[in-house]
Symmetry: C2
Subunit: 355 residues, 2 copies
């Protein structure tokens, strides 16, 4: 590790990859070399970094020998090929896709929530990053579980377009630019597009469908939230159910969460607990504006918790509103935090530069 | 009733009032005279109706003697003054505001759900219309309750700007017209506005706050959904909890609903039951696009139910996605349907024209 780490960022031109570069820039992460990797089509492109520029290399052709860390944010299909290849070359891989999250011998870590799970890194050298919606959920659930025991979790998401990539963000903006918005025209166009068998529009709409449908009627996004939450919290039997919807928001996911607890916990006590939890910020003033919304949290690191109140449908129930930047804490930041935790945990990076 | 009814529409220039005029036009409602009423500022304005034009009269100065029916859609404060005045003049009032919904001697009727409650109309001659979000919820809950017994209901709403009135719709559209949209500019402006203590923006945002805050941390919108659902279903002890959020959608409210039932009911059985329920349309194909979204249901009468699936957090749980036009079934249409049900129920309108 002399002189710092050699760090590759896979998928560096995407939403999450470019945020990973910004997170590396903004934190004192000991990266001596940073190599952005992307598709062959993007190779040669230059990206700004720490006042200078980095040249994008071809991910498919990249030789990972001598690279300590790969922060990977391509799709799951690419990750299934790239991550094992990099790990075999001696690299530690932190992968943002869904490819490996449920592998029993790969720790799924949110550093503030289950840092002890990190110890399992060495078996496969691949550390998956949880789903963006899951990360912000477990950040708020953990302190409640420690205090009063989670019995049941029901969550509805309000997910922004950024989670679906740059193209979805562009599609959200496209109807407004540069033409004048005409509501009836928009509705007419949307219906006409649907009648032609087109995709459901996102502008001025809500789409209850993220990722593919499973046989039982859930979407894979909903299944991810349920399965990953159980894995991260180490509660394999915890009943969790999710409804995941895309809303016409650019950045920032929101979640309406109802929990049943084993033991009583007042809204006031929950507010205090969450207020001292690392990485969590409570904004909960029970007055107009006294709560967090996606547009305000975009670009920030914390998970914001608002609208903390007693839920009356359970003997010991609480309701919460959770908002976070899905690209930062939901992805890029969490990946870098995992690497930082590995660094702190001792002699993980074997200084294989030049090996 | 000879020659049809004399019908006044209060708040006729608003979102719901103007939709009431369109609903009266589109259905074979026996209105001989239709009188649009609004504030003094709007008096004299002419509104199109059945190929002709109607002149708006001043609501505050209007003499309700001789008017059979008032379809009222002003705010709650105005309704508390206007509705009793009209009722005292012999008029039957169907009021869309929240002013009277929880009055024990005023029936809160969704005609497909609890038509028997209509019988109580004569005591006060004021029939409140339930909250838009409540109406679409109970339309889907009733068939499930009849089949398997509701034990618990948890709902998260995705409510459109139209429920907040014309001005909120204009505020949602304003950033895009006529300037070119710039995402970073929008975020910067939104933050600057917030720092100046401004309201949370709705464009590209989600706001978990509708109506005023109550002491226990719920909003009044959330309380309304809980209390009104119990009243309409006739289940005063039913545990219901709601999180109500405004999303940047123009028309159409969506709801993610989780129910616990007393007895088992498969998703397939629920789909069949809902498919035959009056006023409910099931769109649930478990494939991309095989579900309803707000933009498609705008302007239609039905309550759409999608994403019907087993919920695993309860022994007998179901999850649903409910979407409806909040201005039509959620307000204007439901009001006219209440009047139609009164007409069918016998000699309610005493033909007081000229009385």
């Amino acid at each position: 590790m002399a002189g710092g780490l050699r760090v590759a960022v896979g998928g560096a031109t995407g939403n999450v990859g470019s945020e990973m570069l910004r997170v590396l820039e903004g934190r004192s992460f000991p990266a001596a070399d940073v190599i952005p990797l992307a598709s062959a089509a993007s190779a040669g492109q230059r990206l700004p970094f720490r006042g200078s520029e980095l040249e994008v290399c071809d991910l498919a052709a990249f030789d990972f020998r001598g690279t300590d860390l790969l922060l990977l944010s391509t799709g799951a299909a690419n990750a299934r090929e790239t991550a094992p290849r990099a790990a075999a070359a001696g690299c530690i891989v932190i992968d943002n896709s869904s490819a490996f999250r449920m592998e029993p011998d790969m720790p799924l870590v949110v550093p503030e929530v289950n840092p002890d799970a990190l110890a399992g890194w060495a078996t496969r050298r691949i550390l998956p990053v949880a789903n963006c919606s899951t990360i912000q959920l477990v950040m708020a659930l953990k302190p409640l579980h420690d205090a009063a025991g989670l019995k049941r979790v029901i969550v509805s998401t309000y997910q922004s377009a950024s989670g679906g990539g740059r193209r979805l963000m562009e599609r959200l903006l496209s109807p407004y630019d540069p033409v004048t918005v005409d509501m009836h025209g928009l509705l007419r166009e949307a219906r006409a597009a649907l009648e032609r068998g087109g995709e459901k529009p996102l502008p001025f709409n809500v789409v209850p469908h993220i990722d593919v449908f499973l046989e039982d009627g859930r979407t894979k996004e909903e299944w991810k939230m349920e399965a990953e939450t159980r894995k991260i919290l180490g509660l394999p039997e915890l009943p969790v159910s999710a409804t995941c919807a895309r809303v016409p928001v650019l950045v920032g996911h929101a979640e309406a969460v109802t929990v049943e607890l084993e033991r009583p916990l007042s809204a006031e006590a929950a507010r205090e607990l969450l207020g001292t939890a690392p990485g969590v910020r409570v904004v909960d003033e029970r007055r107009p504006g006294g709560y967090a919304t996606p547009i305000e949290v975009a670009g920030t690191d914390d998970v914001f918790v608002s609208r903390i109140r007693q839920d009356r449908t359970f003997p010991h129930g609480l309701a919460l509103w959770i908002v976070a930047d899905n690209i930062r804490k939901g992805a890029a930041l969490n990946a870098v935090q995992i690497a930082e935790a590995l660094l702190l945990s001792g002699d993980v990076f074997r200084g294989n530069t030049g090996a």
